[in-house]
């Protein structure tokens, strides 16, 4: 495994860069006194999803761990390993700090506010190339809406980030206040790999291994897409924009066929779904490139990308510091036309995020 931090030699918009911090101490300056006391006395260490086990090779490429703190915690290293070599015009930070797994919703809301202020101070104000994702307590959509109101006009935030593993599906009307606020502030919704909802991550209970959980994560994305469409989120919020981050994308063509077929037979149950589900996907949903889940045969991957029936769905990402590729050679599909490559590398994200 050789780690190669050089880029493609052409500019990109990177839609998935992870910023992190070492411990809850980082947030102390942003928390009220009673929460600081609560944290110190209880030794509470923050939400623990463990969706990226520290030692798992996929959690961090070699060489991405700074001297003090976890991978993704040092801006200068991110500049050196991603922003500069990859010629990143805009880098979207996807902060996977899942306050959703903190069952005390008030604490979750305060942690979200603290993380967001920290993102402004330590990231957005330090590098003009960066944009960030708002962390919100989405387990309580009213509190989530309040958080969006608090920071939604800050030009650095381009989306609200949610873990794909939620306690209830994102198409449900209970999320209306959160989506209304997001649409009002012209923010996208980013649904990201991981989370810890306390529900089993599969329809058949708890898997034994992490690798199984990772592979099965794609199915939860499938469930969220079907929920968003069939439970009417796009009917209620026609301007809602959703990006699936780190979802893998090769499952989407077959999922669209399945949803369209089901809709033909069962659409009377959901009269607000007035077009085939795949239409909603192409209009409202985008997907980041990594992990590509690429087969050995690169022609097959190109055919799969063709089966998306859209040049606009995929948006480039490095998913730094996670390990999915070793260098620029295996970071993008081989054999793409230059015009499609340009869309994936820059144009689709520019249009989606209105950059």
């Amino acid at each position: 495994m050789t780690t190669n931090f050089t880029g493609l030699g052409r500019p990109v918009v990177d839609c998935d860069i992870h910023n992190a911090f070492a411990s809850l101490e980082t947030l102390v300056p942003y928390l009220e006194d009673h929460w600081i006391a609560y944290i110190r006395e209880s030794h509470f260490r923050g939400p623990g999803a463990n969706d990226y086990p520290g030692g798992a090779p996929t959690s961090a490429r070699q060489g991405t761990r700074p001297a003090n703190g976890p991978p993704g915690s040092d801006l200068s290293l991110i500049q050196k390993q991603v922003l500069d070599p990859w010629d990143v015009e805009v880098g979207i930070l996807a902060c996977g700090y899942w306050v959703q797994s903190v069952h005390n919703e008030d604490l979750a809301a305060s942690l979200a506010t603290a993380v967001n202020q920290w993102q402004i101070d330590h990231w957005l104000e330090k590098d003009a190339r960066l944009r960030a994702s708002l962390v919100v307590p989405s387990q309580n959509p009213i509190l989530a809406a309040r958080e969006i109101e608090r920071f939604g006009d800050h030009p650095g935030f381009v989306q609200v980030i949610l873990p794909v593993r939620s306690y209830s599906l994102y198409g449900k009307s209970e999320y209306n206040p959160m989506y209304a606020a997001a649409v009002k502030h012209d923010l996208a919704i980013g649904i990201h790999f991981g989370g810890a909802s306390s529900l089993p991550p599969t329809p058949v209970g708890w898997p034994s291994t992490y690798i199984e959980e990772c592979a099965d994560m794609a199915q939860i994305f499938q469930a969220q897409v079907l929920s968003l469409i069939s439970e009417g989120a796009f009917a209620r919020f026609p301007e809602l924009r959703v990006v699936l981050i780190e979802s893998g994308f090769v499952w989407m063509p077959a999922w669209m066929w399945r949803m369209d077929k089901e809709w033909k037979g069962l659409r009377r149950d959901t009269p607000w779904v007035v077009r085939p589900p795949s239409d909603y996907v192409r209009e409202h949903i985008r997907m980041t490139l990594q992990p590509m889940d690429a087969p050995i045969n690169s022609e097959h991957l190109l055919q799969m990308i063709g089966q998306l029936d859209s040049d606009e769905i995929l948006m480039f990402s490095t998913d730094y510091p996670h390990w999915h590729f070793d260098g620029p050679d295996d970071a993008i599909p081989k054999g793409l036309s230059d015009s499609l490559l340009e869309k994936i590398l820059r144009e689709n994200a520019r249009a989606f995020y209105k950059l």
Binding site: T202, V204, L226, D260
Partner: protein
């Protein structure tokens, strides 16, 4: 192909292919205790319970199905629920389509019972009923052996009781189980299944331990019905990553009514993650996709309907499992696939022949 009304099949004689239907239902869930088609075969010790308290299952889904019994409008026999009347089914399905064989998959509530002993009693009743009223009455029929699969000992006892009966060609599991099926609690069943040369048939449905999605309850039938492939995918990942096929190299799994469009992306994904995380599953000796291609069979209904017919053959090429796909109608259900329509996007006649009958003939050792 929702609500397909039965018409005279338009099959030109010279193009006629043999047909084996790998998914016919003679039982569909609970109706009411006194009128279950298999009730006369209930072990007597369980009769009172069956008629009084029975039916305490893990209610997983409260989405009403599209139509009564999820059945085609024209599939209601003169008596009993759709699918349960042999004569009516013979005429409407086996005779009409001149099928060589049909595999009966009873969707009984045996596996979903909280009371495991009672579940095993249901399994016995369904199996005895199938022998007496189906297998002994039509040579074209084979059946799946119902087992209370949430308890390996009870399931193995039923396999040992009837596994040698020539009419039973596989075991019957439902897709939504209490634990992913690769986990150890099910291993004794696999050991016994291999001994008796019975594949594990896993059919759409069941009630798991949580909601049908990894993120909560589904609101609409489209999410429940359309969501079932997620359960099948989770079972495949579990079987492979748990090393079940290293432990039981002779084990064969038949995925019934789960679709198959998801197989290719899942193989690619499982291989990709395996390359990075193989230290977690050191007992695996091959790529996940290789285990999948060797050990899994898939029935065709509901047939995949890509946005462009050309994608169908791309999918078959990516999948490279022409020898593992097996035609099924899902009679008498509303989403029936018609034998003259299902494979319309397959141009290669040899492949069509394999899928329509020959793969099943070989797997189930039929003449």
């Amino acid at each position: 192909m929702a609500m397909t009304m039965l018409e005279e099949p338009e099959i030109k004689k010279k193009e006629k292919l043999s047909i084996i239907d790998c998914d016919i239902h003679n039982v569909d869930g609970y109706q009411s205790p006194a009128t279950e088609v298999w009730v006369d075969y209930m072990p007597s010790v369980w009769e009172d319970y069956h008629l009084s308290i029975a039916g305490r299952r893990r209610a997983g889904s409260n989405c009403p199905r599209a139509v009564p019994f999820a059945a085609r409008n024209d599939a209601f026999p003169p008596e009993g629920p759709p699918g349960s009347h042999l004569g009516f089914m013979q005429e409407q399905l086996l005779d009409t389509w001149e099928m060589d064989y049909g595999i009966l998959n009873p969707l009984s509530p045996a596996g979903g019972q909280q009371n495991l002993e009672y579940g095993a009693a249901i399994a016995q009743a369904v199996n005895e009923w199938q022998i007496a009223e189906w297998l002994e009455k039509d040579e074209r029929l084979r059946a799946s052996l119902t087992v209370a699969y949430e308890d390996a000992d009870l399931a193995v006892a039923e396999i040992e009781r009837l596994g040698d009966h020539p009419g039973f060609v596989q075991l019957m599991f439902m897709a939504r189980t209490m634990e992913p099926l690769g986990r150890r609690k099910y291993w004794k069943i696999y050991e016994s299944a291999v001994d008796y040369d019975l594949p594990i048939g896993i059919h759409f449905g069941g009630t798991g331990i949580g909601p049908i999605t990894g993120a909560g309850k589904a609101a609409h039938y489209i999410q429940d019905h359309g969501g079932m492939p997620m359960a099948f995918q989770a079972q495949v990942t579990s079987y492979v990553y748990e090393g079940v096929f290293e432990r039981f190299p002779g084990l064969k799994i038949v995925l019934i009514e789960g679709g198959f469009g998801w197989v290719v992306p899942l193989m690619w994904r499982m291989d990709s993650w395996y390359r990075k995380l193989k230290m977690e599953v050191p007992y695996l000796k091959r790529l996940p996709s290789e285990y999948i291609r060797d050990h899994f069979y898939l029935t065709t209904q509901p047939i995949e309907e890509p946005s462009d017919p050309a994608y169908f053959e791309q999918m078959l090429a990516h999948m490279d499992m022409d020898d593992k796909l097996m035609f099924a109608t899902d009679y008498p259900h509303w989403d029936f696939d018609s034998p003259d329509q299902a494979l319309r996007y397959v141009s290669n006649r040899d492949v069509k022949k394999q899928i329509m009958a020959e793969n099943a003939r070989e797997l189930y050792d039929l003449d």
